[in-house]
Structure formats: structure tokens, C-alpha cells
Amino acid sequence: MSLLETRGLTRSFGGLTAVDKVDFAVEPGEIRAVIGPNGAGKTTFVNLISGRIAPQTGRILFAGEDITALPAFRRVRKGIAYTFQITSIFGNLPVHENVALAARAGKGNATECLTRVGLETRSGQVAGTLAYGHQRLLEVAMGLALKPRLLILDEPTQGLSDGEIAGFVKLVRAIASETTVLLIEHNMPVVMELAERITVMHRGSVLAEGTPAAIRADPQVQSVYLGTA
């Protein structure tokens, strides 16, 4: 049974269909990347999965259970953790409190999660004063503290330096040993290095799906995406 599955998922805004009848499945334990050019519908798609917006038609199944009608917070409790594309932390609260809030909700261990992302020495600092790269790590730590079955990382490497990205890749790989990761990513080298399977979205639909090698070789993908990237 797939961990996450969508069937005919559709959402439009005004005249624009951002996500158009998408059938999609993530298997337990894999690292899956969703890529696509700007405006392909990736962000709307993850928002539908995380429950931040509601679909017009279609269904979402999580571990076989229909979660289409569940509000976002219940999906989080079922094990879908979401890290925001635009960093969203409690900027006025200490780092440790940020993770503790997540840990209390998800029964995780705050200190352990901070250590895993390497922020244990900064736990007393006010989160808003962290450097940008550290704030992104804090987001990941909050996601980990939820003890999710599916961790959605929405453009996690955006705005990070090359050195930070390398560390990030290592971290995600370690995380993937115990949970399923859905990665929405722009940075192709990161995707190619991490993902076991890649789903390419284009104009709201799934254009192609397969291993990194297969996606790299797909002429359709090359024309709409890789050629312009």
C-alpha cells in the first residue's frame, strides 16, 4: 500500500487550473522529488496534500485512509509534516521553544532533534536572530520533532550557500533512513543526488515519473524543463 496517494486531484483559481487531475503515489521509505518549471503547480499540489487549501475534486489517501476532508492540523497529527517554502518559525521565541512546541505536539524529543540538525549550541537564542541557513535547519528540526511518517520539504535549499546545501543533502539522507521524504525542489543537482524517484509536473499535470536517470533521458522533460533550467 502506498503511503500517500492522490486520485484525480484538481484545484483551480479563477480560470487557471493549477493542479489538474493529478494521480500520484509515494511508497513508504522512499525519497521522492517533485520538480517542474515555475508555475507548474508544485506549490499548490503540496498545499493540497498538507491541507492548507482544499481541492475541488479528487481524493487524497494517507496510508490507505481518505484524508481529503481533514483539516491541516489533523493531517499533521496523522503524520504529515510540512516545512514551509518561506521560512516560518516563531521568530520571537527561543530556538529550543520552537522545537519544543513541535515535540510536544508530535511526542518527539526536542533536544535530540536540535542536535541532529546541529543547532544544539544555539538552543537559547531567539529564533528570529538566527542566520537564514540556520532558520531553515530549525524548520527541519521542527519537522523532525513531529515524528512524521511523511516529511514534506518545500524548496528547502532555496537561498542556501553551496556549503550549506552539501550539509543539507547529508541531513536529508539521514532523515530518509527512518521516514519518507517528499521533496519539492528547484535545485537539480540536489534532486538528482537525493531522489530515488522523480515526478515532473508541467502546467498542473504529471508529465513524467521515474528514476533520476530515466527523467534525465526523457526527451519531453528535457524540452519543457531541463532545457530551460
Binding site: 498538507s50 492548507r52 491541516a72 492540523f73 489533523r74 499533521v76 497529527r77 509534516a81 510540512y82 514551509f84 516560518s88 518559525i89 516563531f90 521568530g91 520571537n92 521565541l93 521553544e97 519544543a100 512546541l101 513541535a102 510536544r104 505536539a105 508530535g106 521542527m142 513531529l146
Partner: protein, 319 residues
């Protein structure tokens, strides 16, 4: 964290102890003023729980205060209930009213929440005027001294006695302070603060934000109703002015002045503002002038308020 607990208990205990000792040095006028301040501070503490900690700006808290006020006044004068019963009834009805209003108003957020609370409160105010036959409108209900003298657990309690009233107000204040401290320092209180700081983040950590907000509205409204009932019973009066829009603004002002999201802030703010208005009314009949000026100055120059500033500069552990 353990050390914080002791310091916090010590500080708040000291404030209560000082208030207890004050009655032995204060004259009649100051004692009466302090009694009023303590009762109104309970109202402000309730307000602060919602505005300061949870970040919800209500412009309609007078309806909760008035709920307690009128349940107490009508219950004793019209229905003939005893003072202790009516007090408990007022608290229960206050909780129900805030549950109902909270359930409705929380469907709106931001500016809309503010206007919804304002509108509900205005409707309540107009309802009080409309049923003037029972509420006696802005003339108000006076609770006779004979009603305020009653037997309780074998003792005779006389609410017209200034000393008794003072100590009752102090006891209620202590309870309200205890409730606030307990909530604010609990995991639940941390979630309320998280909602204030970043609501969508709190949702995406799996917290049912609406339920937490509803909890805050109910506790806040219930404390306000408790203060209202105490006010009516202790000062023997309930009038529609106490349900007007002004009385929704007052706790906001006291909270902002004393320091939003500090447990002692509302008490400090109420006391200072009470003194300011008291002094100002020696010069002018326009005694709300001070309220207006202080509000503007606070927003412009003193956003953290008295205890908020103390916390920022000197005592970071202040709850």
C-alpha cells in the same frame, strides 16, 4: 526553569502580601480605590489572556463584564437569589456566554474578529437599554445593603464593610492571578503564545488552533464575568454605562499600559490608569481625555508597557 518557578512565586506572592498590608496604612479613600482597582484588574487579567497571550484583539469584552454584572444584580434584586449562589451562577453564565460568542466570533479573524466582538457587545448594550424595565437602563440597579448582608458557612458576611470587601477583592485577585500563572506557564499557555506569534505555523505543528483560541475566549470571558459580578455585589450597582463600548476599551488600555502578556501587567496598568484619571478629574470634567491621550502615547512610544519593558530590560523570566 525550577529557579524561575521559585522567583515567580516569590514575586507574585510579594505583590499580594503588599496589597494585604496596604489596608493597614491606607485611608478610607485609598482603600476603596484599591478595592475597585483589584476587581477591575481581574477584568483586565482576563482580557490580557486573550489579547496579550493569544493575540486576539476583542473590542467587546464589556459584554462579558456586563453578563456578570447583570446576573448578579438581577439575580439578587429580582429573583431573590443569595449572594454566594448568584456569584457562582454569574460565573457559570459568563462561561456559557463566552463559549457561545467565542464559537461564533472565532469564525472571523483579524479586523473582522474585532468588529464582530464590537457588534455583539453593542447588541448586548442595546438589549440592556431595550429591556429597561428589568435593567433600569443607564439609571441602573442599586443592590440594597440588606441583600448584601448574608449568612455564609455560619458567619454573617456584610459586603458593605470596607475591610471585608477589600480582603474579598484581594482573595479573588489572588485566585485570578493563580489561574493566569497556571495557564501561562503550562504547555497550553505556550501553545497560546505560539498562536499569537505565528498562527499558520502552530496549525502546521498539528495544533487545533481554533479550539485553543476558544479556550482562551472562554477563560478570558469567564474571568471578565467574575469581575463583573464581584463589581456589582461589592459596589452595589449595575448600570448600562458599565456595558458600553468604553468598558470594552478600558481593559485594553490597562493591559497595554501595564504590559500585554505579563501576568502582573494588567494590575499595574489598572492602578496607574486609575490614579491618572483620578488626578485628571480634578482639572477637567472630560475625564476620558486621559484615556485617549495615554492610548495614543502608548502606541507611539511605549509599545511594551510597564512590565513588558521591565521584562525586556531586567527580568527576562517574568511570566
Amino acid at each position: 526553569m525550577k529557579g524561575d518557578g521559585a522567583r515567580i512565586a516569590l514575586l507574585h506572592g510579594a505583590v499580594l502580601a503588599l496589597l494585604f498590608l496596604a489596608q493597614f496604612v491606607a485611608g478610607d479613600y485609598v482603600q476603596l480605590s484599591l478595592t475597585r482597582i483589584m476587581v477591575l484588574a481581574i477584568y483586565a487579567m482576563g482580557y490580557n489572556l486573550l489579547y496579550g497571550y493569544t493575540g486576539l484583539l476583542s473590542l467587546g469584552h464589556a459584554m462579558f463584564f456586563a453578563t456578570g454584572l447583570y446576573v448578579a444584580a438581577i439575580g439578587t434584586t429580582r429573583i431573590g437569589l443569595g449572594v454566594p449562589e448568584v456569584f457562582l451562577l454569574a460565573i457559570a453564565i459568563g462561561a456559557l456566554v463566552s463559549l457561545a460568542i467565542g464559537g461564533l466570533a472565532l469564525r472571523a479573524s483579524g479586523v473582522a474578529f474585532m468588529i464582530v466582538t464590537l457588534m455583539f457587545s453593542q447588541a448586548a448594550f442595546l438589549t440592556i437599554l431595550y429591556f429597561g424595565e428589568y435593567t433600569r437602563g443607564d439609571e441602573g440597579i442599586v443592590i440594597a445593603d440588606s441583600i448584601r448582608r448574608f449568612g455564609f458557612l455560619g458567619m454573617t458576611v456584610d459586603l458593605a464593610s470596607a475591610t471585608l470587601r477589600y480582603n474579598l477583592a484581594l482573595a479573588l485577585l489572588a485566585i485570578a492571578m493563580g489561574v493566569c500563572l497556571a495557564i501561562v506557564r503550562s504547555p497550553l499557555g505556550h501553545v497560546l503564545i505560539a498562536i499569537r506569534e505565528n498562527e499558520s505555523r502552530a496549525t502546521m505543528l498539528g495544533y487545533d488552533v481554533t479550539r485553543y483560541k476558544l479556550f482562551a475566549v472562554v477563560v478570558s470571558g469567564t474571568l471578565s464575568a467574575t469581575a463583573g459580578a464581584a463589581y456589582a455585589l461589592m459596589f452595589a450597582y449595575a448600570g448600562s454605562t458599565l456595558a458600553s463600548i468604553q468598558y470594552s476599551i478600558h481593559p485594553l488600555l490597562w493591559t497595554l499600559l501595564g504590559g500585554a502578556a505579563t501576568v502582573l501587567g494588567p494590575l499595574a496598568g489598572t492602578a496607574v490608569m486609575y490614579a491618572v484619571v483620578d488626578i485628571a478629574s480634578g482639572f477637567t470634567t472630560a475625564n476620558l481625555l486621559a484615556v485617549g491621550v495615554v492610548l495614543i502615547l502608548l502606541v507611539l512610544f511605549f509599545r511594551k508597557g510597564l512590565l513588558g519593558t521591565v521584562r525586556q530590560r531586567w527580568l527576562p523570566w517574568l511570566p
